[in-house]
Amino acid sequence: MTPRPSARRPSPPEHPVVDVSGLRKSFGDHEVLKGIDLSVEEGEVFALIGPNGAGKTTTVHILSTLVRPDAGRARVGGFDLLREADGVRDVISLTGQYAAVDGLLTGRENLEMMSRLGGLSRSESRRRTAQLLERFDLGQASGRRVRTYSGGMRRRLDIAISLVTRPRVLFLDEPTTGLDPCSRSAVWDFVRELADDGVTILLTTQYLEEADRLADRVAVVDDGVIAASGTSEQLKAQIGSSRLDVGFHDGEVESYPTDGSVAGVHGALTRVLSDPREAQSVDLRSPSLDDVFLALIGHASAQHTSDHTSAQQSTTRKAHTS
């Protein structure tokens, strides 16, 4: 859970590798993006978190040239998204939510095909393919058709394919959705390795733990706008330095923000004691990204997301934010 050091690769701050302002997009009457601003520095791991339908995937689709924005400006790797789309394509790779692999081809054939399309010669393609098969632990399955792969293997192949051309910027759209815990932690390891190699990574996720572990900086997307952004420490600090979880007799858990001081905790406990319900237990802890999320997005949609994200928290938790 330690925050990763940001900006491993020195880069002049006036040239972020992904630079977006005022991005808007509607599908029919539905306005999905209502003005997204963000900038990602070279070598950074940047996470977009938010509930379903917040606009995370649309943002990634626009930045990877799949979708044209209605308004706004964006540069990726120094190239203008609209005027120099091919330049953008040369420096990026996208691993989408649905594995973009060819089920009728084998893993090796998939990698060789994409290497060739990425401009590598035949012999370079073979070498790169062998490297990636080894690195993503797909050597044994390389001769099997991808249709027979498990979800985790497909995802690994998908990420491997994204790396054939050694992108400067890698977009990962919900890279671990639907994976078992083992495959998920394998994907996390790969993401960390790539970040250490200096690849800039913009990922979307519904899992706050994922953002907390991987990202140098996090932006919370809600209803088409960036609700907050910063390091996860900064975001947590915004909602108080520690939280008091109180378990009530009826099984409810409520969370009270405090400033971490004796007086602050005392104040919170006074409020607890004035509650007509009978308090059973207290737990003083540091705020999590879940708390940030709940505070920013509001109870209704966050409850839904936290069902996904924190299965271990079986009790209901209410966010008390002032």
Partner: protein
């Protein structure tokens, strides 16, 4: 957040450097197109070979049709024999048309899967994907045409074409497959589901029945004759029959070519436009 300052690696299209950048750009995109088309054709041909069901239908259907028309209907339609010579050119085109029609299924399958998004985020020449499907369709259908011809010869088909006529006949068949494959590719972009895409094959399979393919047009009811005479299959079949059996097609050859080139041109333009539209 200012994005006014251009980053160093960004080439601006508004100021072409001296030395004819546009010419070199055209050359690289030509080379790109060739490379991408080769890779995509390779991919589509592999798909064809691995799609065992479709491959078997592509081989069994022609043979079954040939046997049916020769042994089941042949005696009734032409008791004195010789129907096989009349019907083989039609079956060649029927099967080639059906086979070309399956291109729509391959294209729709691609479009409904994530892999197209992958291609779109790479610097891949966009037409290469469709080109690959068309090349694979040509290869598939030339093989199935060879199967049809071999079966026909075994069953007693006796063409009287000379080398020049054979050359022209094969050219006509290839143009037919090419035009229908592009038409299918365009339909594959329109169709939202694989089932809808598959309907084209059946349409192509039925159109020849109301033409000069299996019976002379003057045996049809009067109200059908107009359609049968003026639909494209009739002149194409008449031309192929004339070439293979040393007959006289009259002006049908030109009419057939105009139809096919027309279908090809419209389909290529339509696919290009549809492809652009599918970009969300």
């Amino acid at each position: 957040m200012s994005i006014a300052a251009p980053a160093p690696p960004a080439p601006s299209p508004s100021d072409p450097p001296p030395g004819g950048r546009s010419a070199s750009a055209t050359r690289t995109s030509g080379a790109h197109l060739w490379r991408d088309a080769v890779v995509m054709s390779h991919r589509s041909i592999r798909h064809s070979l691995r799609n065992i069901d479709a491959l078997l239908i592509g081989i069994i259907l022609p043979v079954a049709l040939m046997l049916m028309f020769t042994y089941v209907f042949g005696g009734a339609i032409s008791p004195e024999g010789g129907y096989i010579d009349f019907v083989v050119p039609s079956i060649i085109l029927l099967c080639a048309g059906y086979g070309a029609g399956t291109t729509a299924v391959s294209v729709t399958t691609d479009m409904t899967e994530g892999i197209i998004d992958r291609f779109r985020t790479m610097r891949v020449v966009s037409s290469a994907v469709l080109l690959g499907h068309v090349v694979a369709s040509m290869a598939r259908n030339l093989v199935s045409t060879a199967v049809v011809l071999t079966t026909a010869l075994l069953l007693g088909f006796r063409p009287s074409a000379g080398p020049l006529e054979w050359f022209a006949a094969i050219g006509l068949i290839m143009l037919f497959i090419l035009a229908l494959s592009w038409m299918s590719a365009a339909w594959g972009l329109v169709a939202r589901t694989v089932d809808a895409a598959a309907s084209l094959s059946f349409f192509i399979l039925f159109v020849p029945y109301v033409s000069s393919a299996f019976v002379p047009i003057d045996t049809l009811p009067t109200w059908l004759q107009g359609f049968a005479q003026h639909q494209p299959m009739s002149p194409i079949i008449d031309t192929l029959r004339a070439l293979l059996l040393d007959g006289d097609a009259g002006g049908a050859g030109w009419v057939a070519c105009v139809w096919l080139v027309g279908i090809l041109a419209v389909s290529v333009v339509a696919s290009a436009l549809l492809w652009r539209r599918t970009r969300r």
